[in-house]
Each structure stands twice: as structure tokens, then as C-alpha cells.
């Protein structure tokens, strides 16, 4: 069993007690424990079930490479699936539960897959489940879906908050082991602005665990003094619990800081995402130990040798009483020594190498540990826990020479440098036969924005394993990557144990523990032609689990290359994609949630609308009142009331969102003549003109009223959504094409609140509040004037989008609310009511005015909309003129704007098409038009619509069939699009 040793544990504080639960069972740990170490202290080796076969899974590693110990953490609004126990710091009150089993961890019905595993090799699902056709969706897929997945989905919104922070530095160092610390010292002393981040809560990495000596000091002491020294440097920032997640172009690095993961609910942000821009990046990310591929290497109790050592030294855990060590390198001997020094038993070290006579093997022998050379494990015995190993010759085929009883196995298949961050942005790797590992190729680094090398690696991440070499390399100030692997003892390739293992054994050698990919699966993939490592990976799911192949990729690649009879470098490696370990999605969303999910643009009258019960409609980032329902009205009823009131009495509309752009200069007229399809240069001062803007394709893009303010100043109104777009469009042409023209623009949209005062009583209200002459004579239709109204200084435009007598009045935004309220107060006597965007739409549709986004959709020209009068024939050029001349746009058969009126008075459904006889070659029904706007007209008491119909204007009075989604049609007559007051008597009044 696994248990806590009586003494030791460099990271735990024995004076503390942290009570937590696992699957509801109360357990005790200490501050400084990880959840994994605390579970082991409580003899909980079995922690989960694998993905496919639901095999029992135990803790195998002690860091982010852990594929098995994934638990569900917390509950309700703090529930988090798939949390890695080895990187989760223990805290009092932690609640964890194992995943992917039913009904319980101990007894999981899904394990039936394990017994039929032979029938479920890699990719079996590609070869079956095809008959009958419907069964895939209804039978097979649901079964597969339910047995896959790991944790379950949270049900409640996240209780925690997150944030981003931007950071800048000359040198970013990722990893706070000896290499990273020494690099920070070097760079800091050189005066560089340094940011050093470390994913764990501790500095120093492996060296203190391994008892290394650094510059004649014990590693632990060296680390303490290094940290002290760094803290005195003003140009150095240290950050632990901060993982370098991804390296992106131009020195951009994403890091994830676990601020309050271990103190949930303390009011701090749970995590903080660092968006770092670094001049240079040094990765000191260490190396990850590889498992060995022997039969039964997935049975709980089989652990990575160095991880097992971590548990002993850091947390005073005895993972088992009797631990067999199996290895192909010297490092694992440290584990055996640590175990023996902790008073535990190591019945044997099985070394696959024919000879092991380095310092460490000799130290182990000196301690009396039995060392067997040229040996391996034929098979591990046990079910939910190791009970023993069968020993064989590594060079043989697995004949059992001996069985050794044990309850833990420490394995080491060598080390893989953590090259992820080096590779994210294109850094290339080279295969080291000496280390049996991919190491960064310093000649092919990822490149920065200026073409310089963006990343260098130091320490084990570069394949430098000896502490003295690491320090030497990190001392170099010119950040040259070290790659002096030759100093390090060679690690021979041992990819399958024993070398000649028959298929029965190979089918029980796990490469990917979580996804259940075995040596035999990779060999099958190779046999079937999935020869590229990408093919094999995808066919077998090797390396696709939540550990992203940290333990399995190299072993799998090696097995594949052997199966193909090729060298590993020829087979290649898979691409490393960010993030290094999974990052909480909420953290990546940062502060952008709820109220500040997106900017919400408010007009000065926003609060008034809100208090008045407005039903809101998002318009771009603005929010505009759609209507203002009263006394239980439906939206439709409210719209009807607002329309009728505006037609009969007085409506008030918040039109502040309309774009307002000042265009000024000696060439402003000439410029606007290019921008608009019609003439603007000849507009008289004091007058207004409706104008159309097209893109270069000749399609309508925006519209609005332009006012001539003075000799060289125009004010251009745009649609609500168009202000920034049209302003940008103007600046684009002025800066990039006609930069010698003397024109300045300014977007003053937000400077003004603009209110439309609309209806037969509009003038009466303005005359009542008084200040300026708003009579027909003083301010006729399509003119503007500056003045005061009710003590407010205003600019009043006589323009109308409703066909009513109408004034649009602009006041400074800071006085908008007051002015609006005054209009309501004083207007009550005239029946003033606010109306919203839907009322606005109905009013304009009754008048046959087009709406950008309804009548136009990016494929419609002004000519399609009967707006030929607003497209100058005189001008030799304007934006869109040439585009409109193209054959398809000039085609006389195009669909053109008409009014549509159903014969039965009903409202044509939104989006309806006019059907024509027959079908096209693809069997689709032919069409001859479509509706663009369709409303119930409260004024006319019937459905009205605008639409585009082939040759429509020449077909007045004809009846077309408009389709409905149920397959039926409704008959509609083609009519004039102006349904109301065609002579314009009301608006001109």
C-alpha cells in the first residue's frame, strides 16, 4: 500500500492539516501536498478509468505529464472536470471525485470493453457500424459517445472571475529550475528586463529533489540564494504558479497564472492570463521521463521512476513497500537509492542495458541493492494494483526467468526534453541518437519579427542534463542555446521490452494510458498503411488525450519507425500545438463576461428608455428601443400604437446613433462627389440632400442625408451601423489614393444627441418651446438651421424618414437627456409618445423608403432600387461607377424594387421568394423575386411589402406567387412601393 513516511518531505508542512474528500471519503493531507501526493498518502493509488477499455488507472507521474489522475474537482458553480491531481495544490475542503466509470471507481461496468479489447483494436470503428445505415446515429454513436468523454459537464455558470494582463520584457524565461534561475541571473545582471515564470509553486525544479550540487552548494541552498539575488534586481520579475502555455509569432507568449486555484472563493481572480511580448524567449522547461513499454505497464502501482522519487523526497510518500526499478539509464538508480534511504525495500533494479557500471549503479550496489543487467519485465502481475513482476531477458522474447513480488514498479525509459514551446512557432528539432530524444536544433529556431532567433533553450529542455553543463550554458549572456549532449551519458533506445516480445505481450504494452493505445495498435496502423506519424496518431488516437502525448509520443513514434523499418527522424514528429497543458476557457475569455462581455454603446437617453420599459434591439454595439410596450401590450400592439400616434399626433425618436461626419476643406466637394453616387458639390449652403454610397463593386453600402454647412464644410449622416465604417472608408481614400486633396474629416457622431420630432404636431411642439423660427417658410423641407429651442442650442434639420412633418434636432450629448425629457413634458399636450426602431421601419416602409440592410444586402445596386435619380450620369467618376457597368450589374433582367400587396390583405412572410415556373438544372424551383421588407401597416390596415422582382417596375398590377415555408404560396400584386402620401403633402407641410 502507499502511505506517508514518518519523516521527510521537503515541500509539505506537517504542522498543518488539510481535510479533503475523494469520492466522498474523508482524507487528510498537509499544506504543500498536491492532490496526488495526498491521495497516495491515503493509499489511494487507483484514481480513474481509461477512455476506451475502462481499465483501472493509477497515478503514474508527479507533474503536468500525468495522463491518469484526472479528477472532478469541486461542485456546482465551482465544479471543474478533468483536473490533473498531480498539479492541483491541496487545500482544506477540497472535494475530488474520480471520472469515467459507472457505477463506481472500484466496480465499473465499462470494463467489459477491456475483456473484448481484442475486438476493439485501433480504428475498429472505421471498419464497422456501417449497417444498417441509420444505426450509426441512433445506436452505435450514442454508445461510443457515452463510453468516451472523461469528466462530466459543469451545469452552472462559473462563480469565479478571470483577467488578462499585458507584460513586456527583453527576455522571458520559462521554467524556474536551475537552468531558468541561472539564465535569469545572467540576463538580470546584464541589465535586461527579465520576466521569469515557473508553473509550480516552487523554484528549483528537479535538482533539489535529486540532491544535486550546484557550484559547490547543495541545490536547495543554491536555489534559495539565487531567488534572493533575483529579488534584489529591479529589472527582474519572478512569477510562480504561472505556466508558459504557448509561444506565438513576434515574441508573443501566453502564460496562465493560477492565482486562486488553491484558495477558491477568497475574492481574487481564479486565474490570470498573461499576454507577454518578449524580445527573446528562453525556455528552461526541463525534460519529461518516458515510460517503458512492457506488458502490464499500465497497472496501478507502475510509476515513472523520477516521479516516484518526487513523491518520496518532496512529500514523504511511500508509494509501495517493495518497489522494483526497471530502467535503461542511470537516473532511475536515484529512485532506488532514495527508496532505500527512506527505509523502503527495492527487491531489484532491472536494467535493460547489458552493462550498468556508472557512479549511480555502483552506489546502488554499494547500498546492497540487487542490480540485474540485460533484464526487463516480461509482464506485470496485478489488477487494480501491482502484485509482482515477471523478469525476462531484454534481448529475448519474454520467457519468464523469475517472478518478484512487489507492490510498485518504478520505470524509466529515458527522457524527452520539453520542446513544446520551442516548437509552437516553428522551431525545428533534430534527433539525438545519443540521448534517444528529439532536441531543439539551434540552427533552425523560430524567427522573430525582425528575423532573429526568437527562442533559445537551456538545461534539460535543450538536452543538457548534467547540472554543471546547465549552469555553464545558462551563464552565457548571448543566449546561445546549449546542446552539448555529448557530456551526458548515453541513453540507449529501449522501445519494446523485451525486444522480441510476441504479439500477446505487445497487445498489453500501453503507449497512451488515457486513450488506451498499445504497441500492437501502432503496429497495426503501420501495417495498414497509416505510415505518416500524423496518420498513425489520428488512426490510433495516440497522443490525442488530455496529456497531448507527453508520455506517449516518442515511444509511439519509435514503435512506428521500427514497424516501418525506418529511422525515427525519417518518420518525423507530430506538430506541437499550444497550449502546453490545457488552459481554463474562462481564463482565456478574461474579463469579457456579463456586463462587460462586449462594449454596449448607449445614447444619452439610454436610461430614459430603460426606465420607460423599452424592449431593446441590438444594432451593432448600440442598443436601440425596438418599441415601448405599455400596460401589457404585445410588441406588435406597441408598434401599431406608436406608428398611429406618430401619423396622427406626435412621435419622438432617439436618432442619436445615426452617424455624423464632418467633411471640410477646399477639395471637400470634389471628394464627396467621388464618395456619393450623386452630386454633393453643388448642394447649396443651408440645404440637405439624400445621398447614396456604393462600394467599388457598385453595390449599395450606405445612405443618409448630407447637409452643406458652409462654403467648404459638409456634414454627412450615415446609418447607425455605418458611422465608423464610412468614416474609415473616407479616410482610406483620402490617405491612400487622393492624399494630395485638401480634405479633413471628423467623426462627431457621439458629440450630439439627435431627436426626430415627427408628426402633424411636430411644429406645434417646437413653436411652443420656442426659440427659433421653425415655420415652413423659415425652415422648409430639406433645409437646416442653427438656433435655440427651449433654451438649448440646437441644429434643426427638416428631414423626414417617415413621410410626416419632421424635424431632426441635434443638441450636445451632455444635454440630450434634458432636451428629450423637455420634449416629452412639453409635448404631452400634443400627444407626444416615443417610438422605436420597428415603428420607424413601418413608417418608412409605408412611404417606400429603402432601408440599408433590408432592401440592400451587399448585392443590390442603387438602380435595382429605383434610385437612378440619385446616381449621377454627369459625373465622369465616382466610387462604384465602373463596378456598376459590369455585364451582370447592368443586366436589364435584374430584379428591381416594387411594392407588393397580397390579394387577401395578409402580411407576406419575411424572406419569401416569388416563385416562377419550372426548375433549374439542379432541380431547384425557379424564382423571379423576393420580398425585402414586409409589415402590417397600421395606417393602411393591411399587409404591405417591398420587394425585388424581375423587371418589376414594368409589371405593375401583375400578380406574383410568394412562397411560404410550408410549400404553399400567397398571391401578391406588384404595386408602387410608395403606399402612403405619394405626393408628400405631409412631409412638406
Amino acid at each position: 500500500m502507499s502511505t506517508r513516511l514518518a519523516t521527510g518531505g521537503r515541500l509539505i508542512d506537517r504542522s498543518t492539516r488539510a481535510e479533503f474528500t475523494f469520492n466522498g471519503k474523508r482524507m487528510i493531507g498537509h499544506e504543500g501536498d498536491t492532490l496526488a501526493s495526498a491521495l497516495l498518502a491515503n493509499d489511494q493509488m487507483l484514481v480513474g478509468r481509461s477512455f476506451k477499455y475502462h481499465r483501472p488507472r493509477g497515478i503514474i507521474a508527479a507533474g503536468p505529464e500525468e495522463p491518469n489522475a484526472l479528477v472532478n474537482l469541486g461542485r456546482s458553480d465551482r465544479m471543474e472536470p478533468n483536473q490533473r491531481a498531480t498539479t492541483t495544490e491541496l487545500f482544506a475542503g477540497l472535494e475530488a471525485a474520480s471520472q469515467n466509470h459507472w457505477p463506481s471507481l472500484e466496480f465499473d461496468i465499462g470494463v467489459v470493453n477491456n475483456y473484448i479489447a481484442r475486438f476493439l483494436p485501433a480504428g475498429f470503428y472505421y471498419k464497422t457500424f456501417m449497417q444498417p445505415r441509420a444505426a450509426w446515429k441512433h445506436v452505435f454513436e450514442p454508445i461510443i459517445r457515452h463510453s468516451a468523454g472523461l469528466g462530466s459537464a459543469p451545469k452552472e455558470p462559473d462563480a469565479d472571475r478571470y483577467e488578462y494582463v499585458y507584460a513586456f520584457c527583453d527576455v522571458l524565461i520559462i521554467g524556474g529550475g536551475i537552468a531558468g534561475l541561472q539564465a535569469a541571473l545572467t540576463q538580470g545582471q546584464a541589465g535586461k528586463r527579465v520576466l521569469l515564470i515557473e508553473q509550480t509553486a516552487h523554484w528549483g525544479g528537479r535538482a533539489p529533489v535529486d540532491g544535486d550540487t550546484v557550484e559547490n552548494e547543495h541545490a536547495g541552498e543554491w536555489v534559495t540564494s539565487a531567488i534572493d539575488a533575483l529579488k534584489t534586481m529591479k529589472n527582474v520579475t519572478l512569477r510562480n504558479r504561472c505556466m508558459g502555455a504557448g509561444v506565438y509569432d513576434h515574441g508573443y507568449v501566453l502564460a496562465n497564472e493560477r492565482v486562486a486555484d488553491h484558495t477558491p472563493g477568497d475574492g481574487r481572480p481564479k486565474q490570470r492570463v498573461w499576454r507577454i511580448r518578449a524580445g527573446h524567449i528562453i525556455t528552461a522547461t526541463g525534460a519529461i521521463e518516458r515510460p517503458l513499454s512492457f506488458a502490464g505497464n499500465d497497472i496501478p502501482g507502475v510509476m515513472l521512476a523520477a516521479s516516484l522519487r518526487d513523491y518520496v523526497v518532496n512529500f514523504a510518500i511511500s508509494p509501495g513497500d517493495r518497489t522494483v526499478v526497471v530502467t535503461n539509464n542511470d537516473d532511475a538508480y536515484l529512485t532506488a537509492i532514495a527508496l532505500v534511504e527512506a527505509g523502503l525495500s527495492v527487491p531489484a533494479i532491472l536494467d535493460a542495458r547489458p552493462q550498468a557500471d556508472g557512479d549511480l549503479p555502483n552506489r546502488a550496489r554499494a547500498l546492497g541493492i540487487r542490480v540485474e543487467q540485460g533484464r526487463g519485465i516480461a509482464s506485470v502481475k496485478g489488477g487494480k494494483r501491482v502484485t509482482g513482476v515477471q523478469v525476462c531477458l531484454q534481448a529475448g522474447e519474454g520467457a519468464v526467468m523469475e517472478e518478484i513480488a512487489c507492490d510498485a514498479v518504478a520505470m524509466s525509459g529515458g527522457w524527452s526534453p520539453v520542446v513544446h514551446l520551442w516548437s509552437h512557432c516553428g522551431g525545428k528539432l533534430t534527433w539525438s541518437d545519443h540521448l534517444s530524444a528529439f532536441v531543439p536544433d539551434p540552427d533552425r529556431p523560430p524567427r522573430n519579427h525582425d528575423g532573429s532567433a526568437m527562442v533559445s533553450c537551456v538545461g534539460a529542455a535543450a538536452g543538457t542534463y548534467r547540472v554543471e553543463d546547465i549552469v555553464t550554458a545558462a551563464v552565457a549572456t548571448d543566449v546561445i542555446q546549449s546542446n552539448d549532449a555529448e557530456n551526458t551519458p548515453a541513453i540507449p533506445p529501449i522501445w519494446v521490452m523485451p525486444q522480441g516480445a510476441p504479439i500477446g505481450l505487445r497487445a498489453r504494452m500501453w503507449l497512451d494510458y488515457q486513450n488506451d493505445v498499445k504497441v500492437s495498435d501502432v503496429q497495426l496502423a503501420a501495417r495498414e498503411g497509416y505510415e505518416s506519424v500524423e496518420h498513425t496518431k489520428r488512426y490510433t488516437t495516440l497522443g490525442m488525450a488530455t496529456d497531448q502525448g507527453k508520455l506517449s509520443n516518442i515511444n509511439g513514434l519509435a514503435v512506428l519507425s521500427q514497424a516501418l523499418g525506418a529511422e525515427i527522424p525519417q518518420v518525423g514528429t507530430t506538430t506541437f500545438r499550444p497550449p502546453y497543458t490545457p488552459v481554463t476557457i474562462g481564463a482565456l475569455a478574461g474579463e469579457s463576461r456579463g456586463e462587460i462581455f462586449q462594449p454596449l454603446r448607449r445614447t444619452p437617453m439610454h436610461e430614459w428608455h430603460d426606465k420607460s420599459g423599452a424592449y431593446w434591439e441590438p444594432v451593432g454595439l448600440w442598443r436601440r428601443p425596438y418599441c415601448y410596450p405599455r400596460n401589457g401590450e404585445s410588441h406588435a400592439q406597441a408598434v401599431e400604437r406608436e406608428v398611429l400616434n406618430t401619423r396622427e399626433k406626435l412621435g419622438l425618436l432617439d436618432a442619436s446613433t445615426l452617424g455624423k461626419i464632418i467633411v471640410k476643406g477646399p477639395d471637400a466637394g470634389r471628394f464627396l462627389d467621388m464618395l456619393y453616387t450623386n452630386m454633393m458639390s453643388n448642394l447649396a449652403v443651408g440645404k440637405c440632400r439624400y445621398g447614396l454610397v456604393c462600394n467599388e463593386q457598385g453595390f449599395l453600402s450606405d445612405d443618409g442625408v448630407v447637409a452643406r454647412i458652409d462654403e467648404d464644410t459638409w456634414l454627412c449622416h450615415t446609418t447607425s451601423g455605418g458611422a465608423d465604417r464610412i468614416h474609415g472608408w473616407m479616410e482610406d481614400w483620402l490617405q491612400c489614393e487622393w492624399w494630395d486633396w485638401k480634405v479633413y474629416t471628423a467623426n462627431v457622431t457621439e458629440q450630439y444627441a439627435q431627436i426626430a420630432v415627427v408628426g402633424p404636431n411636430a411644429r406645434k411642439l417646437l413653436e411652443k418651446i420656442g426659440g427659433m423660427d421653425v415655420s415652413k417658410e423659415a425652415l422648409p423641407f430639406m433645409q437646416w438651421a442653427d438656433g435655440t429651442l427651449g433654451g438649448f442650442s440646437v441644429r434643426a434639420y427638416r428631414i423626414s424618414f417617415s413621410g410626416e412633418l419632421s424635424y431632426e434636432i441635434a443638441v450636445p450629448a451632455s444635454q440630450g437627456a434634458a432636451f428629450w425629457e423637455m420634449l416629452h413634458r412639453e409635448g404631452a399636450a400634443f400627444g407626444a409618445m416615443p417610438y422605436g426602431t420597428e415603428g420607424l421601419h413601418v413608417l418608412r416602409a409605408e412611404k417606400g423608403f429603402i432601408m440599408i440592410g433590408d432592401e440592400s444586402d451587399g448585392t443590390v445596386t442603387p438602380l435595382d432600387l429605383g434610385l437612378a435619380w440619385a446616381v449621377s450620369k454627369k459625373k465622369t467618376d465616382f466610387l462604384g461607377k465602373r463596378g456598376m457597368e459590369r455585364s451582370h450589374l447592368a443586366d436589364p433582367e435584374r430584379w428591381q424594387l416594387v411594392g407588393l400587396e397580397t390579394l387577401d390583405g395578409s402580411v407576406i412572410p419575411d424572406g419569401s421568394y416569388a416563385v416562377a415556373a419550372g426548375q433549374n438544372e439542379n432541380g431547384q424551383r425557379n424564382t423571379e423575386g423576393r420580398v425585402t421588407s414586409t409589415y402590417y401597416s397600421p395606417t393602411l390596415k393591411k399587409g404591405i411589402a417591398m420587394g425585388l422582382v424581375q423587371n418589376g417596375p414594368d409589371r405593375m398590377g401583375e400578380v406574383v406567387e410568394m412562397n411560404k415555408v410550408d410549400g404553399s404560396t400567397v398571391q401578391a400584386r406588384i404595386v408602387d412601393p410608395v403606399f402612403f402620401d405619394k405626393a408628400g403633402e405631409k412631409q412638406n407641410a
Binding site: 509569432d249 505518416s532 488530455t546 490545457p582 462586449q598 463596378g883 459590369r886 424572406g911 415555408v965
Partner: protein, 415 residues
């Protein structure tokens, strides 16, 4: 070819699966072929498959500079739908969708087409009108869709927050027979079927030049030597520009990076595909349990298969707002692909200024769903030398005429 079936698996299980043969051969190039397709992605392989199946042309090579299916086919979010607005798009995507229905059986390779349904959320009144327009168009195009209520959206996708404070869900366009498929399997299944017809799939073979005589293509220079051909189809997505340049013409194409990501796997919680265009995000859950999420494109030319990270953040913000449960899940892996965007964001299946040379590209962000339809139409174009009805509208000449196939006009975007 040994047929795949549950019985075959059982038989093989008894001998530890030692008897499975190669899914596709590893041939050496012949001196010449009747047709060469450049690009062994989904579109290229499907083109070859239908050249053989529909036109009996099997002396065909598919040339691939990397590994088959290793480009965008293997890095997209696998959404299949045909609820397009414009007639030519609806026709080809619906053809493709209907071919997906029977693809596993046709190819004897389970591509796991899962018609679980696709909802496109309407979150503004403008979107409501746009999707109602699409629904009316689809009704005439033979595409089964309907505009559904907010309550129905919630019923189909319970994890969705339908009354989000910013963009409450007002309804959605629902295509019940849309869904997903296993992307790699589509490439592998086609490759196996093509190989079985005697076609050569030449992997790790890069085309370095296009040879022509009298304005007509006669062959290609490759890293494995010169190979002659009577007809050439260029089906290389993001690298179309380079191939077009070798063949001597220019395309209305820009290559940009499109990104996607997956979460860690969780137990099934979402049985439909959801696309939310107002907030720019789309998501489905794979059979492994990962939430598969599509991000946005960069606005600059890019061949690196790496996008800018802020697009990922924007997508995740939008999705956390729509699916609050996502917040405590974790992003497992993100990646990018190079997509080929045309001037109107619709594809090209077209003759080119070079004789006997045909191009199929420009699928942009939405190519996976089109694979079988695209291959079908391209095969017809290559076999007959003239486009059939499915391809006719997708000619290169439409840009000169201004005859665009613009899908962005309704609320929908092309994913």
C-alpha cells in the same frame, strides 16, 4: 479489396489483427496518366473517386506533397450543412450532404456521418429576417430547413443560455439532417476506394512545375520526376496561388489562417451543432467528447498554419456567453489551417486560361462539408471538359461579370 465488417474484425481478432492489408497502396509513379489531380485532400481524392466511379476514368494519379488528408481536411471542425441562401451554393452543398448520408456504405469505410442537426442562432432581428429568408429559399431548393423558436432551440441544446443579457436567442435556422463526420476517415475512405480502383496516390511527391504545349497542359514536374497527363486538376486549397502561378495564371484568392480548437473531452452534453454568427463562434461535441470550436480568420495573408491568438480569445468569449458551462472546461489544443478566400467567398470549380487544366479551390472556411459534392462536380468538369450544372456558376469568369455568389448577404456566414 478486403471488405470491412464486424465479421472481418472478429476473424482478425483471433489472430491479433495480423491479416489486415494496406488501406491504400504505395505505388511508384507511372510515366503518364489520363488525369492527374494535385492535392490528396478530401476534395482531390473525391474528384479522383468520382472520375472513376461516374466516368470510368481510373488511370489517375493523385499527387500530394505531404500526406494524404494532412491539410485542411484533417484540421477543420467537421460541420456538414447545406442551408445556404444562394441557389448554386445550396445545390452543391446539398449534393454533398446527400452523398455524406451514404458515404460509409459507398466507401465501405465508416466516416461516421452523424446527422445530428445544425442550428444557426438568430440573435438580432436582422438575423431573424436573414434566416427566414434562407428558410424560404431552402424550401424552393429542396433543402430541408426550418426557422425554429427560442423554446425549440433550448430543447435541442439545453446547455445554451438563451436569454443572455446581450444577445438573447430569438430563434434559429435548423437543419435536422446537417451534422458532422469524422474528417480523417473521409480522406482515408476515399483514398482506399481510389487505390482499389487502381488509381495511384503519390504521397510525399511535390509538384514543382506545370509543363504545357500550345497553351495546353501536358504534364507536371515533381520531386519524383516528370509525369505526363492528359488532364490536370489543381485541388490544393491554400496553395492554389502557387500552383496557378506554375500554370501561368492568377487567381482571385487570398490565403489566410483560420483557427480552431478543442476542449478536453467531457461526457455528452450537446447533441447538435450550434453556430452563433452574431457573436462569431460555432461549436459541436465530438464522439470523443471534446467540444470542437471554430475560430475566426486573420485579415492578412498567411501561410504559416498559425493564426493570431486574439481570434481564439474572441471566439471563446462569445461561446462562454452563449454556453456558460464552457468557462470551467479547458482548451486542450488549438491549431490553424491555411484557407483560400475568393473575392466573393464562394469556391471556384472552373476551367482556367490554360487548356486541359482545371481548378477547384476557394472553399475558404467551409470546404469540408462540400467534399463529395465538390469532387462530383469537379470530376464532371474534368471528364467532359465543360462544367455540369453543379459547377456552372462557380466559374472564374464570374468576377469579371460581377456575377457573385455572395452568401454573406443573409445573416449566414460561410463556415
Amino acid at each position: 479489396m478486403r471488405r470491412y465488417s464486424v465479421f472481418a474484425i472478429a476473424r482478425e481478432a483471433l489472430r491479433y489483427h495480423s491479416g489486415w492489408e494496406r488501406a491504400w497502396r504505395a505505388p511508384t509513379p507511372k510515366a503518364a496518366y489520363d488525369a492527374i489531380i494535385i492535392g490528396a485532400g478530401g476534395h482531390g481524392l473525391a474528384t479522383a473517386y468520382y472520375l472513376g466511379k461516374n466516368f470510368g476514368i481510373t488511370n489517375v494519379a493523385v499527387i500530394e506533397k505531404g500526406w494524404l488528408g494532412g491539410g485542411n481536411t484533417g484540421r477543420n471542425t467537421t460541420i456538414i450543412r447545406s442551408n445556404y441562401l444562394q441557389d448554386p451554393s445550396a445545390a452543391i452543398y446539398e449534393k454533398a450532404r446527400s452523398l455524406y448520408e451514404t458515404m460509409s456504405q459507398d466507401l465501405n469505410y465508416n466516416v461516421m456521418f452523424s446527422p445530428r442537426g445544425v442550428i444557426m442562432l438568430a440573435q438580432t432581428h436582422h438575423e431573424v429576417r436573414g434566416y427566414q429568408r434562407t428558410a424560404h429559399a431552402n424550401a424552393l431548393q429542396g433543402v430541408e430547413t426550418q426557422f425554429i423558436s427560442t423554446a425549440k432551440v433550448k430543447e435541442l441544446c439545453p446547455i445554451m443560455n438563451i436569454d443572455g443579457p446581450r444577445y438573447p436567442v430569438l430563434g434559429g435556422l435548423w437543419q435536422p439532417r446537417g451534422g458532422t463526420a469524422r474528417h480523417d476517415a473521409v480522406a482515408w475512405g476515399y483514398a482506399r476506394a481510389c487505390s482499389d480502383m487502381g488509381m495511384d496516390i503519390l504521397q510525399q511527391c511535390e509538384v514543382t512545375g506545370v509543363r504545357s504545349e500550345g497553351g495546353k497542359v501536358v504534364g507536371v514536374e515533381t520531386s519524383k520526376g516528370y509525369i505526363g497527363t492528359k488532364k490536370l486538376g489543381i485541388v490544393v486549397a491554400g496553395h492554389s496561388g502557387q500552383l496557378a502561378e506554375m500554370a501561368g495564371f492568377r487567381l482571385p484568392i487570398e490565403a489566410v489562417a483560420l483557427q480552431a480548437l478543442v476542449s478536453e473531452p467531457i461526457k455528452p452534453c450537446m447533441d447538435v451543432v450550434v453556430m452563433a454568427n452574431t457573436v462569431h463562434g460555432y461549436m459541436s461535441q465530438s464522439d470523443k467528447g471534446e467540444m470542437v470550436i471554430g475560430g475566426g480568420t486573420d485579415g492578412f495573408n498567411n501561410y504559416t498554419q498559425r493564426g493570431s491568438f486574439h481570434h481564439i480569445e474572441e471566439t471563446l468569449r462569445a461561446l462562454v456567453e452563449t454556453f456558460p458551462m464552457l468557462s470551467r472546461l479547458k482548451m486542450l489544443r488549438q491549431w490553424g489551417g491555411i484557407v483560400d478566400m475568393t473575392g466573393d467567398r464562394s469556391p471556384l470549380i472552373s476551367k482556367t486560361p490554360m487548356g486541359n487544366c482545371f481548378i477547384n479551390c476557394g472553399w475558404g472556411t467551409g470546404g469540408f462539408k462540400a467534399i463529395p459534392g465538390s469532387g462530383w462536380a469537379m470530376a464532371e468538369l474534368m471528364a467532359k471538359g465543360e462544367p455540369g450544372p453543379l459547377a456552372a456558376a462557380f466559374s472564374m469568369t464570374r468576377f469579371k461579370e460581377g456575377r457573385f455568389i455572395d452568401e454573406s448577404v443573409a445573416a449566414g456566414v460561410a463556415h
